[in-house]
């Protein structure tokens, strides 16, 4: 099958069109994704997408040779090689190119490769397919600074978003108690698991975020902190919309790197973490929450967004969504 260049999607004159390269060996999937991205992509406005398709790594590379794409999305399993290899070649040609992978299989199997190749977004093919997430992922890749904020992920008209600031170590359990009370009326089957997730996330933000001048962690986990400096306080927000609840936990340091997150996930998936607890919190959060989005505004703020569906939980196969800028 030869690569096809698309007719330009109908975009109002004057709006920018971003060029996307889509690689998947299944033609019907390529058709569907292209149709969606060109005609139904709605997260973010004022621009449109134009999608070129390829069915193999070789075809994809051919496309890359002739066009400077803004974004490449590739299936992992391809007939002649794999998506990781394709992205390596794409980045060799265009160092700053934005990239994501798609897979029908278990995310866990690819975390190590994602870590090694610095891939931070992997979309999972579930049935039904989450087009909303695809739309959000594409927008976040093109405009990562717009990925932050809980409001971004809850439907318009969501309930009021609560906001608290953790100023000392006692606030961790105080905020946790409020979060548990907030979740209780929804009678979630995973309530207990989520409670654990919240403890991990809140605790880690307070203890692991603050750095001293040398860049080392300032506080020791477990020690009582009477008062965090203004620059060390942590903002926690939560709210609910029609089908999910959301929590965001945000620090003012932005010391976490995307590669750190993958390092933690990988060592817990592989079992290397058995002798220590390094990264266990992030792993548990990722494992037990329906959706986790990690926003890394380097040097400014690290934000963890936790989304959990109230009923009709999504398929087990979770995507990887880390936005670093």
């Amino acid at each position: 099958m030869t690569a096809q260049t698309s007719a330009t999607a109908t975009a109002p004159a004057g709006t920018k069109t971003y060029k996307l390269l889509l690689i998947d060996d299944e033609s019907s999937i390529r058709d569907n994704l292209k149709e969606y991205l060109e005609n139904h992509h709605h997260v973010g406005s004022g621009y449109s997408l134009s999608v070129d398709e390829a069915a193999t790594v070789a075809e994809g590379v051919d496309c890359l040779k002739t066009t400077a794409y803004d974004l490449v999305i590739s299936d992992i399993n391809l007939p002649d090689s794999n998506g990781f290899e394709l992205l390596r070649q794409a980045r060799a040609m265009y160092p700053g190119i934005k990239a994501a992978l798609i897979t029908a299989y278990d995310l866990d199997s690819y975390i190590r490769m994602a870590k090694e190749d610095h891939i931070y977004n992997i979309i999972t093919k579930t049935a039904p397919f989450n087009f909303e997430e695809l739309s959000r992922t594409v927008h976040n890749l093109l405009f990562p600074d717009e990925a932050m904020g809980l409001e971004t992920y809850l439907e318009v008209g969501a309930s009021q978003i609560e906001h608290r600031v953790m100023k000392n170590s006692d606030d961790i359990m105080k905020v946790h108690a409020e979060l548990v009370a907030f979740m209780k009326p929804f009678d979630l089957p995973d309530h207990d698991a989520l409670s654990v997730v919240m403890v991990e996330a809140l605790t880690n933000a307070v203890y692991h975020a603050p750095r001293d001048e040398a860049g080392e962690e300032k506080y020791i986990k477990g020690e009582h902190i009477d008062q965090l400096l203004e620059s060390e306080t942590v903002d926690v927000k939560w709210g609910v919309d029609g089908d999910k609840l959301g929590v965001s936990i945000r620090d003012k340091f932005g010391a976490v790197k995307a590669s750190d997150v993958l390092f933690w996930l990988d060592r817990n998936i592989s079992g290397e973490s058995i002798f220590d607890t390094h990264g266990r919190g992030m792993y548990l959060i990722h494992r037990l929450t329906h959706r986790v989005i990690v926003n890394l505004w380097r040097g400014k703020s690290t934000e963890l967004i936790l989304l959990h569906y109230l009923s009709d939980p999504p398929a087990d196969n979770k995507p990887l969504a880390i936005n670093e800028f």
């Binding site: 299944e26 019907s28 999937i29 569907n32 994704l33 149709e35 969606y36 005609n39 139904h40 029908a104 299989y105 093919k125 579930t126 049935a127 039904p128 397919f129 087009f131 995973d190 207990d192 698991a193 409670s195 654990v196 817990n268 998936i269 592989s270 079992g271 973490s273 058995i274 002798f275 220590d276 607890t277 266990r280 792993y283 548990l284 494992r287 037990l288 398929a315 087990d316 196969n317």
Partner: protein, 398 residues
């Protein structure tokens, strides 16, 4: 070996090593074990040391007699039973000789060798079919994605059209009915695909080597869910379950689905032991950081002769009805959790004790989440065994 030259010996040894049955070579003079193959070593373990009389002194004599008879005989060893098929080869005067003994795992003397071979082949065939199915199911993912995405996109397009049509047109009955019908059909297709996708996930999860899905669970919720499965079954209609929960029980970190199945299994065993009528006392309390579940029935208890073997995979105390997990699997699963599983007789009947670490204990032992679920079998079993050595005096903990 007396009769063969070294070349032939090595050849035969290599063939026998690959034999899926256990093979022993015994001296016919004193039942001394001269040689055994890998499978025999695996099956017999400590019971067969080269150079020593096979089995205990007493058993050695028994064996000798049975061997000299050259007829197959049944013998029960700790973990299971075997039919031993001896083949004796002696020097012409009968003074020296060896006996090759083939060990066929069996629960009784009734070994139909022809059936055995057929079953063996059938198993291999099923395993191949199983693999084929798993591969096919993997391949289903793309078609299912296509169907699902296609349907969703049609729905989006129809929806857009609906929004663009002028009101006068939309309000016409046949038009509005059309839209309704289309959206309804699309929803139906979408649900069906979702179901197919879930089935696929379940099958793939089932075929993967067993991985624990751990999460914090309250013991009360766990028991409540297990009892719900139990209540509606005819077997349990005249069984009373009296539960007693200690106050302030901590959460446990466990694979809730698997542990619920184990609880169900234990209750089912108790019900069968009491022949469908009686009481089971279920107590849950915290002891030394372990949440302890005790299932005490008012039945006949477990025979002293078999109580030591009750957790072995070859246990023949009752016919396997197929629905329950074998007790050995239950023990393995609890062991993987870092807990322990034991049984002992009380004045009232049999008592099964299952202990699972509380969430905080599991955290300390770094056994939470991914780390625990991914420990390989040997490491987990070590944890389980350590916990198991904590015995009461009158218990038989395994």
């Amino acid at each position: 070996m007396v009769f063969l030259d070294i070349g032939e010996q090595l050849l035969i040894e290599s063939v026998l090593q690959q034999c899926p049955l256990g093979v022993l070579l015994l001296s016919i003079t004193n039942a001394e074990l001269l040689w055994r193959n890998q499978m025999a070593t695996t099956l017999l373990g400590a019971h067969a040391s080269i150079g020593e009389t096979f089995g205990s002194q007493r058993q050695g004599e028994q064996f000798l007699e049975q061997i000299r008879n050259d007829k197959p005989f049944y013998h029960h060893i700790e973990d299971g039973g075997f039919v031993f098929v001896p083949q004796t080869m002696t020097t012409p005067d009968g003074s020296q000789g060896v006996c090759i003994v083939w060990m066929i795992p069996s629960s009784s003397m009734d070994v139909d060798l022809a059936n055995l071979q057929r079953d063996w082949l059938q198993q291999r065939k099923l395993a191949t079919v199983g693999q084929m199915i798993v591969e096919m199911v993997h391949e289903l993912s793309n078609p299912l994605s296509s169907i699902s995405m296609g349907t969703q996109l049609i729905a989006m397009s129809v929806s857009k059209l609906q929004q663009r049509l002028p009101k006068e047109e939309l309000s016409q009955p046949h038009i509005s009915q059309w839209f309704e019908k289309i959206m309804r059909e699309l929803t139906n297709v979408s649900s069906a695909v979702q179901k197919a996708s879930k089935l696929r996930e379940e099958l793939l999860a089932f075929s993967k080597p067993s991985r624990l899905q751990l999460k914090p669970v309250s013991p009360e919720v766990l028991i409540r869910n297990s009892l719900n499965g139990f209540i509606n079954q005819p077997l349990f209609r005249r069984i009373a379950v009296e539960t007693e929960f200690a106050a302030d029980l901590p959460q446990i970190m466990c694979d809730a689905e698997k542990v619920e199945q184990i609880v169900y299994n234990l209750l089912k065993n108790a019900a069968e032991a009491m022949e469908g009528k009686g009481m089971v006392e279920l107590r849950v309390f915290l002891k030394a950081g372990m949440v302890t579940f005790e299932f005490e029935d008012h039945g006949p208890g477990i025979d002293d002769a078999i109580i030591d073997n009750v957790f072995s995979p070859f246990s023949t105390t009752k016919k396997e009805t197929g629905n329950g997990l074998g007790l050995s699997i239950c023990r393995d699963i609890i062991g993987q959790h870092g807990g322990s599983f034991s049984v002992y007789n009380t004045a009232k009947g049999a008592c099964f004790q299952m202990r699972l670490p509380s969430y905080s204990v599991a955290r300390e032992k770094h056994l939470t989440g991914g780390a625990m679920a991914l420990l390989d079998g040997t490491m987990q079993r070590k944890e389980g065994d350590e916990a198991c050595t904590d015995r009461k005096n009158d218990q038989s903990a395994v």
